[in-house]
């Protein structure tokens, strides 16, 4: 099912959670909403689910207005960060809940419910836990049960709010892969919220980067990583070195030194140069970023150097790896050549 969001606005008192969001989600997509806390990503997810209502804007499922329908009528599976399992019910009854509360006309009989729950517990590989209570499960198991419960009603969309946020790093990694393969298996349109860029880039087909209630960029993981559309995206995704520069006369200046890089269409005026650590190389003098070597370590074939770049008012300390065949000395002034970079107006 496709989801279309048009100009969504949502305010909580004086706080603007969503400030005009437009988004189209294709059928069968696995989409990540990525952003820092307070960026509006969870609010957006809750509005799609019908757990919150926008102050303005439209939500369309397959072109149909979804805002006239409540959460229960949207056929949306929602997975909460803290699982929200029913503590007084067994795992089996948790998964069966959505089937038991269906209107009598379409409700399955007991045998049908049992078969469906069994099928779902097999899908999440936890059929052996059917008679346990949620409090007897680990975090990762609970989250998989929460997912099975959400899938029981055969949702047209699956929404996951920070699904792995409460889990430890190892379990999180396993569940990520598992979620990807599950999505390939059931292929239901899925949207998940995360503040973890690694998670978004690894799991999703497409990533929506949000900040302060607005969408900053929509793109594939490779696109948002390699070609960030805004300064925010560049600094939020991956590690970036940010240096104050000046663009004028078709050249990029650090102080009074012209760099041998092209402004790439950046507007003249004070700007910021964004470079990733691994996109810089020690180069022969002539228009690179100048810095002095502070500290050196050697790991096998590479040497790792802490280099203090002088740009603007202060120093920026960066750590780069260089081949050992170009030995460096502590205190030596070197030039670093950015091989890939972005310039955004300050």
């Amino acid at each position: 099912m496709t989801i279309e969001l048009k100009n969504l606005v949502k305010k909580f008192g004086a706080f603007t959670a969503l400030d005009g969001v437009d988004l189209k989600i294709a059928d069968g997509e696995l989409l990540a909403l990525l952003g820092p806390s307070g960026s509006g990503k969870t609010t957006l997810l809750r509005i799609i689910a019908g757990l919150d209502w926008p102050d303005a804007g439209e939500v369309r499922f397959d072109g149909e207005n979804a805002l006239t329908r409540g959460a229960g009528e949207r056929h949306v599976g929602f997975v909460f960060q803290h699982y929200a399992l029913f503590r007084h019910m067994t795992v089996f009854e948790n998964v069966a809940f959505g089937l038991r509360v269906q209107p009598r006309a379409i409700r399955k009989d007991e045998a049908g419910i049992r078969a469906r729950v069994k099928e779902l517990l097999d899908l999440v590989q936890l059929d052996w836990l059917a008679n346990r209570y949620p409090s007897q499960l680990s975090g990762g198991q609970r989250q998989r049960i929460a997912l099975a419960r959400a899938l029981a009603i055969q949702p047209r969309i699956l929404l996951l709010d920070e699904p792995f946020g409460a889990l430890d790093a190892k379990v999180r990694k396993e569940l990520r892969r598992w979620l990807r393969s599950l999505h390939e298996e059931i292929n239901v349109t899925s949207v998940f919220v995360t503040h973890d860029q690694e998670e978004a880039l690894e799991v999703a087909n497409r990533v929506v980067v949000m900040d302060k209630g607005r969408i900053e960029q929509i793109g594939t993981p490779a696109e948002v990583y390699d070609r960030p559309a805004t300064a925010f995206v560049h600094s939020f995704i991956g590690e970036s070195v940010v240096l104050p520069v000046n663009v004028s006369g078709g050249q990029v200046w650090v102080g009074d030194q012209a760099l041998n890089i092209k402004p790439n269409g950046a507007a003249p005026g004070p700007s910021q140069l964004f470079v990733r650590r691994h996109d810089m190389q020690v180069a022969p003098p002539g228009g690179g970023l100048r810095g002095s070597v502070r500290y050196l370590r050697t790991f096998g074939a590479v040497q790792r150097a802490d280099i203090a770049l002088t740009a603007g008012d202060g120093e920026t300390l960066i750590e780069i790896d260089t081949p050992r065949d170009r030995p460096l000395q502590i205190g030596e002034v070197v030039e670093l050549q950015p091989t890939r970079f972005r310039i955004f107006s300050a």
Binding site: G50, G72, F80, R87, H88, F97, G98, V101, Y133
Partner: protein, 282 residues
């Protein structure tokens, strides 16, 4: 200072002070609770079994026990329903005066029971603010068993409210949202999700209100009318027997009430441990 827990070498417990606190606990509980209660049982041994049986099965005693237990149960049942409704309103809605209402719930805890009894009596007397309109409908409250029932509701309500309230506050609204997104209507959410989560607390509150109402004396005697066999509660009968210097009679009735109270408390504990096994505290 080391506390010897077990083993020949006297392993030290990671939590110090076990010996001291255990000693204080036992001493204190003995002085305050166990010795007086043991005295009660010993006093009843002055009676032969036949005498004891005769006293507790006499018409007046049985009626007093029936009135105390029956009305206390009914009052606790009313408190169960109304208490849950009050908790729901106090926890889930924001309305002007909410904090004042919240404080009002505690008044029956704090008010001297005699004051409560006198206030209720004058309110429900035939010329009272509530008594007069009720009298026109032919309902007489003060000086009837109905008056006892009203006083028992009054003193029991905070027990249900204060037991259920923290549990409802802790109940995550996310589970209601989860239920709603799974297609549950409001009735399903209440009956299948919220109430089952609250049931252990509700039952505990009910048992506490019940136990309190059984033992209630101060507020009831003013409004009850205290007619033997009609509106005489068991605690009053005990006081009457004492004033007649029939101490053994008094203690015989007291022992029956004590055993009942013990059974109720035992039931409360069972409910709590059952609930805790099912929903461990994290």
């Amino acid at each position: 200072m080391g506390t010897r827990v077990s083993g020949e070498r006297g392993r030290r417990n990671t939590l110090p002070g076990f010996g001291l606190t255990m000693g204080l606990t036992l001493t204190w509980l003995s002085i305050i609770v166990l010795i007086p209660l043991a005295g009660l049982f010993i006093k009843t041994f002055e009676l032969s079994w036949d005498q004891f049986f005769g006293i507790v099965t006499s018409r007046r005693t049985l009626n007093a026990l029936k009135i105390s237990f029956g009305l206390a149960f009914a009052a606790a049942a009313v408190n169960l329903v109304m208490g849950v409704v009050i908790v729901w309103a106090l926890v889930r809605y924001r309305f002007p005066g909410r904090r004042i209402f919240d404080a009002v719930v505690d008044i029956p805890f704090a008010l001297p029971t005699a004051v409560a009894g006198i206030a209720l009596t004058s309110l429900f007397a035939q010329k009272g603010w509530l008594g007069a309109p009720l009298a026109e409908l032919g309902i007489k409250v003060a000086f009837t068993p109905l008056g006892i029932f009203v006083a028992m509701i009054f003193i029991g309500i905070p027990f249900v409210v204060r037991t259920v309230q923290p549990v409802l506050i802790d109940l995550d609204t996310e589970i209601e949202e989860a239920a709603a997104s799974l297609g549950a209507n409001r009735w399903h959410v209440i009956s299948r999700v919220i109430l089952p989560s609250l049931i252990p607390a509700i039952l505990t509150g009910f048992a506490l209100a019940f136990a309190r109402a059984i033992g209630e004396y101060g507020s009831v005697i003013f409004i009850a009318g205290n007619l033997p066999n009609v509106s005489e509660i068991a605690p009053l009968l005990i006081v009457i027997r004492l004033s007649e210097f029939r101490y053994a009679d008094a203690t015989a009735i007291a022992v029956v009430m004590l055993v009942a109270a013990f059974l109720i408390i035992f039931a409360v504990n069972r409910i709590q441990s059952w609930a805790q096994n099912r929903i461990p505290v994290h």
